[in-house]
């Protein structure tokens, strides 16, 4: 039953095949396979401990995987790394570190400066433009520890924007941020999508999934469902992932 002419596949930004990750001998991500088409915006959803952050970190090679193959833009991830930006959870770094907001954003330009090259006026302007895109231009000289949680999240996103990546992966970008920050961040992310970039985000607020994302990866250690939000974000599937049926706000 093989069709004579292969169906053209939309180009894929990230392909995960059979990825398994274990902490000690306990598998937290079990043979997960998923495709993220170019230009799509995908929410990775599932209950606490479902392995969402772990999946993305392992896909990026930040933590070791037991088995599995991950490709970005058709290449091994390590090779495609210059085209990928990652926004970690805010708690991942020490905010008492002696750096100003603009210093952190400029770290996103390291591929252009390397060890020794000067931070030229052009590069400084680029970093500043990324801050402005997130409404943080007035905080450029502020010490990062003096920021609110939402402002810290915006600084991280500005650092990722400075990388000019084609694939943006975010770990809970909306955790603990206020409504104003959330709407700033989502409009920046939608802007990236309209530029043809690919966005993947671990997401917790089920009520905003249909409005924010066009695709969903529903998982609980393994993949429950994957696909367009309309067909995948359904009550029975979500209930299967979360293990209960109290999800009345979700379309059946």
């Amino acid at each position: 039953m093989v069709s004579p002419t292969p169906i053209p596949m939309p180009e894929t930004a990230l392909t995960i095949t059979g990825l398994t990750v274990a902490y000690g001998s306990v598998p937290v991500v079990a043979t997960v396979s998923a495709r993220f088409p170019k230009g799509s915006m995908t929410a990775v959803i599932g209950p606490n401990g479902a392995g969402k952050s772990t999946l993305l970190k392992a896909a990026l090679g930040l933590i070791p995987a037991v088995t599995g193959d991950v490709r970005a833009f058709g290449q091994p991830v390590a090779k495609a790394m210059p085209r990928i930006a990652y926004v970690p959870q805010r708690a991942a770094v020490d905010w008492e570190f002696p750096a100003r907001v603009i210093d952190v954003v400029q770290m996103g330009l390291y591929r252009k400066t390397g060890l020794l090259r000067r931070m030229t006026p052009g590069l400084k302007a680029q970093a500043m433009a990324c801050l402005t895109r997130l409404g943080m231009q007035d905080f450029a000289d502020r010490q990062i520890g003096a920021l609110s949680g939402g402002q810290q999240q915006r600084v991280f996103l500005a650092r990722a924007l400075a990388q000019e990546a084609d694939l943006m992966i975010l770990d809970e970008p909306f955790a603990g941020v206020d409504a104003a920050t959330e709407s700033t961040i989502i409009s920046v992310l939608h802007g990236l999508r309209s530029e043809g970039k690919t966005v993947i985000a671990v997401h917790h607020d089920l009520s905003t999934v249909p409005a924010y994302f066009d695709r969903v990866l529903l998982m609980n250690r393994r993949v429950i469902a994957e696909g367009a939000t309309q067909s995948t974000f359904r009550r029975t599937l979500v209930a299967e992932a979360y293990g209960n049926t109290l999800l009345t706000a979700i379309p059946a």
């Binding site: 930040l62 990652y86 770290m107 390291y110 591929r111 010490q143 650092r159």
Partner: protein, 306 residues
């Protein structure tokens, strides 16, 4: 005495004394600047374990050199022994942390104390051997500029300059690795190499500091200037420069003091000066100092009340 101190400070205490002072200042500059990154990467205690782990190597190197018929006190020979022994300590520290349930701080304590204990035993054995004259290795515990040769001072000054040059080259990679290692790796920084380089730079400071500051106190010359500078600036580059400056002043002043008061070991003198700088900064630094914070609180409470 004040006259003699002034002379020593102004490099006029004789050629040798001037070199010792200059060497101590360069050592302080290098250790302060490297220490800024060591503390930010949370390796402060590791550097202390490293320093204590040099002692068995110093003793064994002395024995080997003396047995070979040479001068057991040759500084380069002793430093090679110290470096090998510290590297062994670091290797075991890594193994203990990776392969046992010991946490890093516990493993650090275990390595620090057992290597130091072994070193003291070896030093005692050396003292009880009849080698004709005293080995003088106790100077490595608390630091001593007495009997320092010009070649020693030149070695320290030259080593300090090399360390500083490497630090200037690596500063961006080291800062990014310290702030967010995952991001640094994704940006193409070889974080393993950066961490290894930082460890080696720290080890180099420890080795160069053995003669002047002594292995017990060298950790203070790495950490205290960094903590002090942190009170004055929010930029990693400025913190490193200031820490280096504080270390240089403390090194210079401490060496001069110890030249004038020959009974005062150099290490404690230098460490007390860095601590004085920290105390003054903790009180008076704008923004983060205790006084500035108390004033800010007082202003706020009056403005709230009215």
């Amino acid at each position: 005495m004040t006259d003699a101190l002034l002379h020593a400070l102004l490099f006029q205490g004789g050629y040798n004394a001037a070199l010792v002072s200059l060497g101590a200042a360069l050592l302080g500059l290098a250790a302060g600047a490297v220490g800024a990154f060591t503390t930010l990467r949370r390796r402060a205690l590791t550097s202390d374990a490293m320093a204590h782990a040099t002692l068995p190597g110093i003793g064994l190197a002395f024995l080997v050199m003396a047995a070979a018929g040479g001068d057991g006190r040759n500084l380069i020979g002793l430093l090679i022994g110290a470096g090998l022994s510290a590297a062994l300590g670091l290797f075991w520290l890594q193994r203990l942390t990776d392969r046992t349930r010991l946490t890093e701080d516990a493993a650090t304590g275990a390595i620090l104390s057992s290597f130091y204990g072994a070193g003291i035993v070896i030093l005692t054995v050396i003292q009880n051997l009849s080698l004709g004259r005293p080995a003088g290795l106790e100077g490595f515990l608390l630091g001593s500029t007495a009997g320092m040769l010009m070649s020693d001072a030149l070695l320290i000054a030259g080593g300090g300059a090399v360390i500083l040059a490497l630090l200037v080259i690596l500063r961006r990679a080291l800062a990014m690795t310290a702030f967010d290692p995952s991001h640094a790796r994704m940006m193409g920084v070889n974080t393993r190499a950066a961490d290894m380089a930082l460890l080696l730079l720290t080890l180099a400071c420890v080795l160069l500091g053995l003669r002047v500051v002594g292995l017990i106190m060298i950790v203070a010359l790495l950490i205290t200037p960094a903590l002090t500078a942190r009170l004055w600036s929010d930029r990693v580059g400025v913190v490193a420069l200031m820490a280096g400056a504080i270390g240089a002043v403390a090194g210079h002043l401490g060496a001069a003091l110890s030249l004038v008061l020959p009974d005062l070991p150099t290490g404690p003198a230098i460490v007390l000066i860095t601590f004085a700088a920290f105390l003054l900064s903790a009180l008076f630094a704008p923004g983060r100092g205790l006084i500035a914070r108390a004033l800010a609180r007082a202003r706020l409470s009056t403005s709230v009340r009215t």
